[in-house]
Assembly symmetry: C2
Homo-oligomer: 101 residues x 2
DNA sequence: TATGTGTTGACTATTTTTGTCAAAGGTAAT
DNA sequence: ATTACCTTTGACAAAAATAGTCAACACATA
């Protein structure tokens, strides 16, 4: 289910770190990290950033995944999720344009 | 700021209902409806549906606006909001496709 | 003055999220 | 079989976010 969790688990393994060690290094309880990697709990943005640094991975991409997952969570079981995303996108683009001035 | 709030306020006025009456008919406190219309508090989906019915308005469109606003709220101040939306969209499309089978 | 309008803020209750902890079960090595 | 790791689980408490209640205010108008 959780793409972000899977990715972060793979990155951790590639970095040769155990759950315990990764948890310690990022000041978080092991059990929580375990749950997060398996999608049982949501990541926080701060933790994603910490882990990205620890694993020397691309933080931006991970944050994008994090946000995307957050958004999808809000839309689960919604009939008009896709339409809502499109409206949101339009508004965000408009806002970005306006802010540029 | 709040498009949904503005829309619902306009719809209420077009329906010739006062805040108090609309609130009573939807079983909600007046103060909350007032705040919601002005974007000071978030709408709930249930309330949006109730109001749509009361105002005889297109519920689907209002729900889409509601969801879109919810999503944008999550992404405010995020540098990669737009990118996140695109990723979310892609995944949602994929999921929808898969569920079809 | 009396009635109807919308707004505000203080407060409580409830729900959700987050964090802590102890223990279980697995594997591997010695 | 005990030691030393690993990950997972669940129970619980703390904290934060959300939702709901209520009384009063300011304004307009009949």
């Amino acid at each position: 289910m959780s793409t972000l969790g899977l990715k972060l688990r793979e990155l951790r393994e590639q970095a040769g770190l155990s759950l315990r060690k990764a948890a310690m290094r990022t000041d978080i309880d092991v059990s929580i990290l375990s749950k997060m990697e398996r999608g049982e709990r949501k990541f926080s943005k701060e933790l994603v950033l910490k882990l990205a640094e620890l694993y020397k991975a691309n933080a931006d991409k991970l944050v994008i995944d994090f946000l995307s997952e957050k958004v999808l969570y809000e839309l689960e079981d919604e009939d008009f999720g896709l339409e809502a995303l499109k409206v949101a996108e339009k508004q965000l683009k408009y806002k970005k344009d306006k802010d540029k001035k």
